[in-house]
Symmetry: C2
DNA sequence: TGTACATCAGTGAACGCGCGTTCACTGATGTAC
DNA sequence: TGTACATCAGTGAACGCGCGTTCACTGATGTAC
């Protein structure tokens, strides 16, 4: 595994492919990702990836899965140190938007490609569940709780999308401004 | 123009190409749109479109422009009959989300490809200006007005995106549910 | 510890494909006189 | 109204390209005895 001599057998190709794909997606966007380039970047022949992923779609889906759970974890961590529900909500929002601006293409990918994580319930879905748990602290129940969670999610998601791939993209490389905007916008949420 | 005999000169090819492209984008998504297929659909040879659009990117940009102004007009119309600012705001939101669910691929396209319409001011930008004018009725000024407009926009845009290409896509073909959600979510906006 | 063998995870050549774009061309149209 | 000619807006063949995927293969690894 950790030997330095070049191996015929790579040993950890699946992970290397995912890493390469993440790298390429972040650099060139989803549309330009090709299996051949992923293989190239991983230093392997064009056919090799097919021992680990059925096809391109499977690779992209795996990528989405990874990213989704990464964001889930980041937002969970973000709320940890906060004392009030409001603070936790804002922290999640900021973490969410930071992830989006730091990894725009992955962010896009993770929502459009994660096919499995759409239980009609959603409450086990990564990211959503984090938001929902914080919104629950606001003493809402049933429909009201769902609507409030959706509102919070929409607000934060919308801003993220407008910044990374929309009319606000001129802010994409001014993180402080985006964060400021994120806070200002979050303040308009009524729970 | 309106002759039925097949013309060597098409007469209105530019518009036919745009129409064909809209059709194809709506059916197959942005990623699968090809110049050749647009030409094919318009009943013309592969080279013909290049007399009207410099390249594929130019076609897509033109498409985005058209869609953007369509949505601008739809949302302007939507607010017309409404009596209170709140009603106008909700009407715009609903129109916005309806457009997104009716034409998901165009909706995506129009934000990611419209390159010119990003004046750092935004106040002349289609769609944004409609929202901003309604938000202005809430007696906010300066920064507060901008933040409020952004919040409204983010909220509505976020829900749209979650529905058409995200974890809520299972709702994409249940318009009533989406509209209900849109209203419930809009109610969480504090202005 | 050694050997035979199955299985795993690579190679690299090859396939067919549709794409964006160019180009020399030509038929249709509009204009000047 | 007729004719000469420039310009416009098509044709269709051709280019080179990179892609996704397959396949026969082979070297490395693990296992049974």
């Amino acid at each position: 595994m950790s030997r330095l001599k070049p191996n015929y057998h790579h040993g950890d190709l699946r992970n290397s492919l995912l890493k390469a794909a993440i790298d390429l997606v972040e650099r060139n966007g989803i549309a330009k990702l090709s299996m051949r380039e992923v293989a190239r970047q991983a230093g392997v022949s064009p056919g090799a990836p097919y021992h680990h992923f059925k096809n391109k779609d499977a690779l992209l889906t795996a990528l989405a899965e990874v990213s989704l759970w990464t964001l889930d974890e980041l937002s969970t961590q973000a709320k940890e140190g906060c004392k009030t529900p409001q603070a936790r909500l804002e922290a999640i929002g900021v973490a969410y938007i930071r992830y989006a601006t730091d990894h725009p293409a992955l962010f896009q990918l993770m929502f459009s490609y994660a096919r499995d994580d759409v239980p009609s319930d959603l409450s086990d879905a990564p990211v959503y569940r984090v938001l929902a748990s914080v919104v629950r602290e606001f003493d809402l129940t049933g429909e009201a709780h769902i609507a409030a969670t959706m509102a919070a999610w929409s607000l934060v998601h919308g801003l993220a999308v407008l910044v990374i791939d929309g009319p606000l993209r001129h802010l994409a490389h001014q993180p402080e401004q985006v964060m400021q905007l994120a806070k200002a916008v979050t303040a308009h949420l009524r729970l």
